[in-house]
């Protein structure tokens, strides 16, 4: 039986507010201690369980009795946008094995560490190009628009075989698709637009393939009957949106975090080889997938002192797990020297982020280049955080140098 925890409502509306832009909601601390499995109320009035301890979050994500299949009754959606985003043919990240594994494995070669490492020179070139654009702007300039958003957009466009010239089209629809401020219709329309867009590209790759992921899906998988066109669209859409939104938000928030912790920034500038470790700590500290990972129980399961009944929804909170003091001492301290590698910012279990090698390399190169080239980088007024996004980020980050 759960006891009321401090001043937290019995079944609070989820997502909780985050008054501190660079910290998860403070209620997580109390919940973790007193109600590690807690009832929450979602936007549509339905109830789900929120799990906040590192151990419990990891065990949900490795337990296949917690299904990722968004078509099942009881699957929890945190906003109309997230509900609409899996419209059309369900993408593989909202499927269970064996279908999930079958489709994911068509992509593991493209995203494996050595293939991503081989892209370093191209990624560096893209970063250098946008850095020049940034330098050409009057100060203060918006780091999100000039640097954080275009870099991962250009990288995933190149990898996937999507023309970067279309970036305004796919960025605006990607954002509307995932915003809590969008209506179900707005979000659903974005999905329709993006599916059509990718469908058109796929059609042209069938006759004129290039050296890119979309061409390989069409030529090696669709033409052989392993995937149909609807799966190609769902997969392309997932890669395009997951590939730019998340990393863009991470780049901008990382810069805000480093500039807000001058002693950490100085340590990183003094020893650029710390960047790998710093990126892991930024991933932990920022935990941008802030509304957590949704699952639905397939049978009655005991966890965190409660019984989750078959058909009940569960949200495994990434930020709460990554700020669990049992696993990360004084989690509120941003410390680029700590060993943060056990964070679960990319999830855990069979759905752990496919694009993580790419995200790591992009973050390393973007941050290293920015700090090296702009020794006087500083925040200007007017930062606008974006708590309504499914992936936490910033709308604007004005900087000067």
């Amino acid at each position: 039986m759960s006891q009321p925890a401090g001043t937290i409502a019995h079944s609070p509306d989820f997502p909780l507010d985050r008054p501190e832009p660079l910290a998860p909601p403070q209620e997580y601390q109390l919940l973790r201690q007193e109600r590690p499995a807690s009832r929450i109320t979602l936007y549509d009035g339905s109830q789900a369980w929120l799990l906040t301890r590192y151990e419990d979050v990891r065990s949900v994500l490795t337990d296949l009795r917690f299904s990722a299949d968004a078509r099942r009754d009881g699957f929890p959606f945190v906003s109309p946008a997230v509900r609409a985003s899996v419209g059309g043919r369900t993408p593989f990240f909202r499927m269970d094995p064996p279908d999930h594994d079958r489709i994911r494995r068509m992509l593991t070669r493209d995203f494996m560490v050595k293939n991503i490492e081989a892209l370093r020179p191209q990624i560096q070139q893209i970063v250098d190009g946008f850095l020049e654009n940034l330098l050409a702007q009057p100060q203060p300039a918006d780091l999100v628009r000039e640097f954080a958003l275009p870099i991962p957009s250009a990288v995933i466009a190149r990898l996937l075989g999507v023309p970067y010239e279309d970036h305004e089209y796919f960025q605006s629809r990607g954002q509307r698709m995932l915003s809590r401020d969008s209506t179900l219709q707005e979000s659903a329309q974005s999905v329709v637009d993006l599916r059509e867009y990718i469908g058109r590209l796929a059609e042209s790759r069938l006759t004129d393939p290039g050296d890119d992921v979309l061409s390989r899906l069409v030529v090696e998988r669709e033409a052989t009957g392993e995937l149909d066109r609807e799966d190609v669209k769902s997969t392309g859409l997932l890669l395009l949106v997951a590939g730019h939104e998340t990393t863009a938000n991470m780049i901008a928030l990382s810069v805000a975090t480093l500039l807000g912790h001058p002693e950490q920034l100085a340590a990183l500038r003094a020893d650029p080889a710390l960047i790998g470790n710093a990126v892991e700590e930024l991933l932990r500290f920022l935990s941008v997938v802030h509304s957590g990972v949704p699952r639905v129980a397939l049978e009655d399961i005991e966890i965190a002192g409660v019984t989750v009944r078959a058909g009940e929804g569960v949200i495994a909170s990434i930020p709460a797990a990554n700020w669990d003091p049992e696993h990360f001492a004084t989690p509120e301290d941003f410390d680029i020297h700590r060993d943060a590698r056990r964070h679960i910012a990319f999830g855990f279990g069979i759905h752990q982020c496919l694009g993580q090698p790419l995200a790591r390399v992009e973050l390393e190169i973007a941050l290293t280049t920015l700090l090296r080239r702009l020794p006087g980088l500083r925040l200007a007024d007017g930062a606008e955080y974006a708590p309504e996004k499914a992936v936490y980020g910033l709308h604007r980050l004005p900087v000067a140098w």
């Binding site: 994500l61 994911r104 494995r105 070669r109 494996m112 560490v113 855990f348 069979i350 090698p357």
Partner: protein, 74 residues
Amino acid sequence: MSAAPAPWLAVDPERCIGSGRCVLSAPAVFDQGDEDGLVRLLDPAPPDALRAGARNAAALCPSGAILVGGAAPQ
């Protein structure tokens, strides 16, 4: 006692989801297959200096595809 001791380190590509965490932790011990991006073992009995990295890889592996210790951990 057993005649054929289990190797110190083993991987199961069937469970692997190609996250690459093992390759980043211990690049001399793990690789990803050129064709499928799934885990391959480069060295089932890595020297002591590489064992901490291999253990770390097993702890970080999201899909439980790495087994450390075998029958005769040292």
